[in-house]
């Protein structure tokens, strides 16, 4: 099997059976925003806006480099943005403006 054939047969998240490091059993308490991200995923699934399989594919579509740089819920947030653009429920411009607004609000709140 050539290297490209191996890649065709195995998508990036399809890692069952591959060699890997020892298991790191350290756990972390979810940050409030991470839990909100999880709740958002569930609500999007309930409404059939983004189901679990679409979310999984959306994370895979971020590509190996970005996946490697992001934490678990950071990947979800980025995947939701892309999926919602593809479904034409949000536009990149809208999200950029809203992020500026949210950012400014967080900044104000932190100064109070």
């Amino acid at each position: 099997m050539t290297p490209s054939e191996a890649l065709v047969k195995r998508l990036p998240n399809d890692i069952g059976g591959l060699p890997a490091d020892r298991i790191d059993r350290a756990d972390h308490e979810l940050q409030p925003w991470e839990k909100r991200c999880h709740a958002l995923a569930d609500v999007l699934d309930f409404h059939k806006i983004v189901n679990a399989e679409e979310k999984r594919r959306g994370v895979a579509a971020l590509g190996t480099e970005l996946i490697g740089k992001l934490s678990y819920y950071e990947r979800w947030a980025a995947a939701f943005a892309n999926i919602l653009f593809q479904k034409q429920l949000l536009t990149p411009g809208e999200l950029a403006l809203k992020m500026d607004e949210v950012s400014a609000r967080f900044k104000r709140e932190s100064e109070v």
């Binding site: 990036p12 998240n13 399809d14 890692i15 069952g16 059976g17 591959l18 060699p19 890997a20 490091d21 020892r22 298991i23 790191d24 059993r25 350290a26 756990d27 972390h28 940050q31 925003w33 991470e34 839990k35 909100r36 991200c37 999880h38 709740a39 958002l40 569930d42 609500v43 999007l44 699934d45 309930f46 409404h47 806006i49 189901n51 679990a52 999984r56 994370v59 190996t64 996946i67 740089k69 992001l70 934490s71 678990y72 950071e74 947030a77 980025a78 939701f80 943005a81 919602l84 429920l89 949000l90 809208e94 999200l95 809203k98 992020m99 949210v102 950012s103 967080f106 900044k107 932190s110």
Partner: protein
Amino acid sequence: MHSHDHAPITVPDGTPGYYEVMETAIRELLAEKGLIHPSEIRRQLEVLDSRTPQLGAKVVARAWVDPEFRARLLLNGRSACEELGITFYDDTQLIVLENTRDVHNLIVCTLCSCYPRPVLGLPPDWYKQKPYRARAVKEPRNVLAEFGTAIPEDVEIRVSDSTAMVRYLVLPQRPSGTETWSEEELASLVTRDAMIGVAIIDPQERKVQ
């Protein structure tokens, strides 16, 4: 795939990082468009907080003391859990895998992080990371050894790979010497890791979860 979970990026002055801003912006835009309602997020946060391995432990203890319940649980995990008032907030089915003298079960999600969330809550980080997902299906005994779990060679280890629609829960073996224990006492023995299958239940060691 690199699967180390980095610390969330928070800018030095303590304001939320880029991805928290993104999550908030997406949620607020969807609410403004009427696609979701903020109260649904709040409600789901409460649901998530209400799910802990104690629910799974209650199911296991009931199965140990009530053979008819155990039979129903093995036939249809979801409806048996619902009998105990555990609601399934998603479309997933639950298959309960019974450990016996001959078979030890282990659950994994090699593709992502599917997990029996309605009965165990959210999965631990290691369950979502590459080493466990990659190795559990290939070298389960080595994986179990890293958890300090030794399964006799003549016991078959069966690994079940979860999907978006089908989730698994391990029904551990009831430890010997617990014949006179109450259902509540039994439930206090059942750990999250035993219901994933990376641990067995030791009656000497009350859980610390």
